[in-house]
Symmetry: C2
Subunit: 716 residues, 2 copies
């Protein structure tokens, strides 16, 4: 009902159903005969060694992810400095000579080149487009999406995001960092495993979906940690999205991995940028600087209990804005799916270039024409009493732009638009000098529309930084209005900008606990915990009234069968439908059933790798794992050479004790078991031990369950 | 093998086996007929209302826990100020007049009175003794420990800890805060539920083990949050100990609850102590103050990459010290179990008084005799540029003691001993003035021994603050040695004190991710993440080589069947043993089996509440839940009045779809399922659907599994 307000009807929502061709990861351990052989040779000492290797692995993943972040950051910084340096000099010269068109052309030249390169890289590997968070969400949720954790994807993503950010598009590098971390996590232990086997370890390490997913969790967390300097937030991100059972051992490893990533990045950036090797001053790619009252003002508080009321209202508005953003972006994405994707790939490149062109012109024109000259505040240095503070303060001051403005004044629009986005965020958070409300409103509107258009074009493009910047402008606007027109002099503008950023970001992405913690860690100020959390809660609830979060929307558009957190109350009316009869997993399970028919043992299931091994002589676990993760297709097996009457015994490769449920188990129970244990398939067994069907991920998606619920009501 | 180093042999370790009389909580939802009736009346709207009530509940729990913390803090502060005020005046007068014995008597009077009161309160409710963390650990692990979440326990705990801290014992109020929070969590929703039912909500809220445990999680988290100003750490504590499946909805509620607690406490303390209502400056009961280089020293870093090496070594030493502490305390606890507990209860009070007497005398004598007069450093104010900083700095300066020392110097031992423990910690973290190495070593040794003796006497007594103080002294000692004797001038003493505190605390309690986050949040400095984490890791690993964490030791001594995080590798050799034959759950399940024998449905299990209802007319869910959590005992049912031939139909109350496993399921799988789903019992079903036994918590404790493993090797 609420959906219609933003112009979406139920039919449109249901347009795209989950596709049936996505496979699930299998997090469950299959303790079959080959695995038992491995198990027999294991003792606690070997277990500890295995554990030690895991710790080394997560450390290596953290360090590599940190280095990837360093690489991206270094080159983005280099290219941006080059670009802004050249153009700014040109603008300053031309504003006297009247050759501003030339400056614009220079800027266009830089931006279009960079965006073209980014776009080309995405042509090579289409999965590298976008932020990558939807893909990682799918993977951690247990869906195999082809190609997302490949090395080629990593390379295209890293170089692509570098160029798209340097190209002045309204995109962030944080989402792609998370994706990159995940790829590093998936790849590194596999590579190591091969080299380790050469030096004669006697069991293959980490060659299963279970281990791989654990490492991908660690890698994704490391990505968040490197992006935001938020190791705890990163860990919680992995847990929130991965959401298997709370495995404490794993969680600790993930936190360690995140810490390694943050501090690797921190170590090298501090060294390279400040020459003070061994000190740690720049935690993440994105820093919010230090929120701090000026020393002289004893009455100043960052926030007071009274402000919480405003924050709630800002949360509501942020939720509404986020919902609008998502709605517009969804329509755009659907339009692209219908009109851009079927056409030759060049069209995608042209679209990216068009976006770049428009963005560049808007940035340039707005800076030149729409800005207002504001008095440079004398207290514009925020404080200079510590090294870290100085960094922020220098950053803030150097990024103030004075185009077309007389002495002692600056151009507020240019200061926002004509800077890297991170600098603009710092300006809004920390600059004491005011921004005119008109400027802020215009900036917000232009940025909102352009960012919305940009997300979904075929370049690697994060959404965090644009959302934060957009929201910060909104928050700063609120602070300005409250200060100037309502006369609330005591409020701290920076806090309002931060809360605005949180509200808008929360309204767009709808993440909960991990986003809260990421933002708290980015501000490095625990006292912001409550306002940030309340704002995010309100923004999420408001937004959820209208549509889903942007990542879920894009996952949905791709038809990935994602499992939600938990079932809705109504779904529990009745038992889940199972896939019955021959076909699919049922067939395989029936092999086991024949076995059982002979009275030998219980219910067995067998995996593809098992089936493929069955036509060959008895394999060891190592031999079975060798081909992971790309087993030969069952249709490629050449069975014509074999005796057609030969009986293939798959028993040794079957799982002798899969989890099962009875036919009268309720949806919520099945859902819980399936999701928590990370299952790929769940046999349904009746009272006398006969298999009556198989439940897979597809029987448990919300789209499927909703459809059944409608049937349920119709039959009543 | 390593155990023998600290004098423990395998036999001693296994002395106390888990007792069989502990019941498990049942986290699994039993979807029987009465529940189905409730379910039928549910729709998504009602589901949302239910959800809203839950949010209100967790908010209320947070606020109440915060208020409890406020109460404890206020009175501890009041009593301590009174005590130290009187005694200090007396000492200052008497040091001239030579009547120091009188001062000692005054101090003794205060301390013995307070400790006597604390001890009396524990006599009323013995469960209120100790820190309460072991009890909460058990509850969150799924064991019902009688009396731990009762209102009476809360009252005794709160007043008891107030007196034991004010009485100068070497105990903390943080552990008891966590326990208090858990009790609030368990009690508040139950109380509300009764009043809500009066205003005609049509289903009883939260009257199940499942809901109660969720709220206890939230309450315990709120307790941590209030104690340390660490809402995220609190949430992770609950997850680490509760460790059911990662339920994101719950996690977010828990975080909100923690935030509410922190900010309630913060709001009132800021208001009461500084008169600035509405500002938020004092996050938790225990604050570490702000770690900060002095403004003038540009070369100063809190820590550098090189220091990490020292931190690792300190971690090892901390682990060793912690293991020693635990070993001594375990022996003491066993001694108490044999020699103190069987005697009249008065003996326990006398022991507490003895501890108090010795502690007081040591504190007094050490301050008077063993201190050294050190030059007051001119830069002893740590910075005065913000309000919050001033607070710390005033705290630090006002707690410097100058007993028996000439002008411009202070008595370092008195500064440590003759202050509340929190002030002493702040001294060690932030005081620029040096402490003599001899003083630090003596302080550490005395404190270590007394704290070890104190933990386990019958007063409410937390262990965090004593461990932190002890460790901080150790860390400061290391810094002193490095600075003075090795000549490493660049190191920051406060950081070393912090790392020492982390190392020792980690060595004692062996918590992982939650402790890391708690310490990071307490310092409010993300950059300490890596050193803290590395130190804790090393300390835990070192300590684990010798014995378990102190909480686990005390859980073990009580014979509580706690389930570990995960199984060891070797345990997977073979299937778990099941409880067979008549008796226990098997009997109950057999009722269901008869039913199944008639070919009607699958396997059913029935709970106590169901069995008790069976002899009465058909009950609704509300009626069944009414008596929760204390159902009448089955032996109390008067069946003599009924027709002995009457057949009781328990089918409506049975769980129609319990989780089951097949007999050849491996230990690790069973363990995972049982622990993750929070089960109370797990039927084992063979290939043709017959029940062959029941697995309960007792079949899965490590003690039981180890015993089986030994059998396994003997039979081979």
């Amino acid at each position: 009902m609420a959906n219609t307000i933003l112009g979406e009807t139920q039919e449109e929502e249901d347009e795209i159903l989950p596709r049936k061709d996505y496979e699930s990861l299998d997090y469950d351990r299959c303790i079959n005969d080959p695995y038992l052989e491995v198990l027999e040779t294991m003792d606690n000492k070997k277990g500890r060694r295995y554990e030690a290797v895991k710790w080394m692995m997560v450390f290596a993943i953290g360090v590599c992810t940190g280095l990837v972040g360093l690489f991206v950051d270094f080159f983005v910084r280099l290219f941006s400095q080059l670009k802004f340096g050249v153009v700014q000099t040109s603008v300053e010269e031309c504003s006297q000579k009247g050759c501003l068109a030339l400056s614009l052309l220079e800027l266009l030249g830089f931006n279009l080149t960079f965006v073209f390169l980014a776009s080309l890289l995405v042509l090579i590997e289409p999965v590298a487009a976008g932020s990558g968070i939807p893909e990682i969400k799918c993977y951690l949720n247990g869906v195999k999406v082809p190609g997302i954790v490949r090395l080629r994807t990593l390379l295209c993503k890293v170089f692509g995001v570098l160029f798209s950010v340097a190209g002045g598009l309204f995109v962030g590098k944080e989402g792609p960092m998370i994706h990159s971390g995940a790829v590093v996590g998936a790849g590194l232990p596999q590579f190591q495993s091969i080299s380790l086997r050469k030096i004669q370890f006697n069991f293959p390490y980490f060659r299963s979906d279970r281990d791989k997913r654990d490492f991908v969790s660690a890698g994704a967390a490391a990505g968040v940690a490197a992006a935001f300097g938020a190791p705890i937030g990163g860990t919680l991100f992995s847990l929130e999205e991965g959401s298997s059972f709370w495995n404490q051992g794993l969680t600790w490893k993930v936190l360690f991995c995140s810490m390694s990533a943050t501090f690797t990045l921190n170590f090298f950036r501090s060294g390279i940028q400040f020459g003070s090797w061994g000190s740690f001053q720049l935690p993440g790619l994105l820093n919010f600087g230090e929120f701090k009252c000026s020393d002289s003002d004893k009455k100043c508080h960052l926030w007071t209990a009274m402000d919480l009321g405003f924050f709630v209202v800002m949360g509501v508005i942020g939720g509404l804005l986020g919902a609008t953003f998502n709605c517009l972006n969804k329509r755009l994405a659907k339009y692209r799916m219908r009109n851009v994707h079927p056409k030759p790939k060049l069209v995608r490149v042209l679209e990216s270039l068009l976006v770049s062109l428009v963005t560049t012109v808007v940035v340039f024109m707005a800076s030149m024409v729409l800005g207002e000259c504001r008095q440079m505040s004398s207290s514009s240095q925020i404080g200079n009493d510590s090294f870290q503070l100085q960094v922020t303060s220098e950053d803030v001051n150097s990024s103030i732009k004075t185009f077309f403005c007389p002495n002692e004044t600056y151009n507020d629009m240019a200061t926002l638009f004509f800077n890297p986005q991170e600098s603009a965020i710092l300006q809004l958070f920390h600059q004491d000098g005011t921004f005119s409300p008109v400027t802020l409103a215009l900036f917000f509107a232009l940025y909102f529309l352009l960012a919305c258009w940009t997300y979904g074009t075929s370049v690697p493009s994060g959404l965090f930084v644009p959302s934060l910047l957009c929201g910060a402008a909104f928050g700063r606007l609120v602070a300005n209005v409250l200060k100037s027109y309502i006369g609330l002099g005591h409020i701290y503008s920076g806090t309002f900008a931060l809360i605005g950023a949180a509200a808008f970001l929360g309204g767009v992405v709808r993440m909960t606990i991990s986003l809260t913690v990421i933002l708290i860690e980015s501000t490095n100020e625990i006292t912001y915990g409550l306002p940030i959390m309340i704002t995010l809660m309100v923004a999420k609830w408001t937004g959820d009234f209208f549509n889903k979060g942007i990542y879920d929307i894009h996952v949905g558009l791709r038809g990935v069968p994602l499992l939600e957190w938990e079932t809705e109350v109504e779904m529990d009316k009745g038992q889940p439908e199972v896939t019955r009869g021959p076909g699919g997993l049922w067939k395989r399970a029936s092999v086991g059933q024949d076995k059982r028919g002979h009275g030998e043992s219980g219910l067995w299931t067998v995996s593809w790798s098992g089936l493929q091994s069955a036509s060959q002589p008895r394999l060891s676990y190592a031999e079975m794992a060798e081909d992971y993760p790309r087993y030969p297709d069952i249709h490629d097996l050449d069975l014509t050479l074999l005796n057609p009457r030969m009986i293939v015994d798959v028993t040794p490769y079957m799982n002798p004790s899969p989890f099962t449920v009875s036919p009268n188990t309720h949806v919520s129970q099945v859902f819980n078991l399936f999701r928590t244990m990370g299952l790929r398939h769940l046999p349904v067994v009746n009272a006398v031990g006969e298999i009556v069907g198989i439940i897979t991920r597809h029987n448990l998606t919300f789209e499927f369950l909703h459809a059944r619920l409608r049937q349920h009501y119709q039959t009543i």
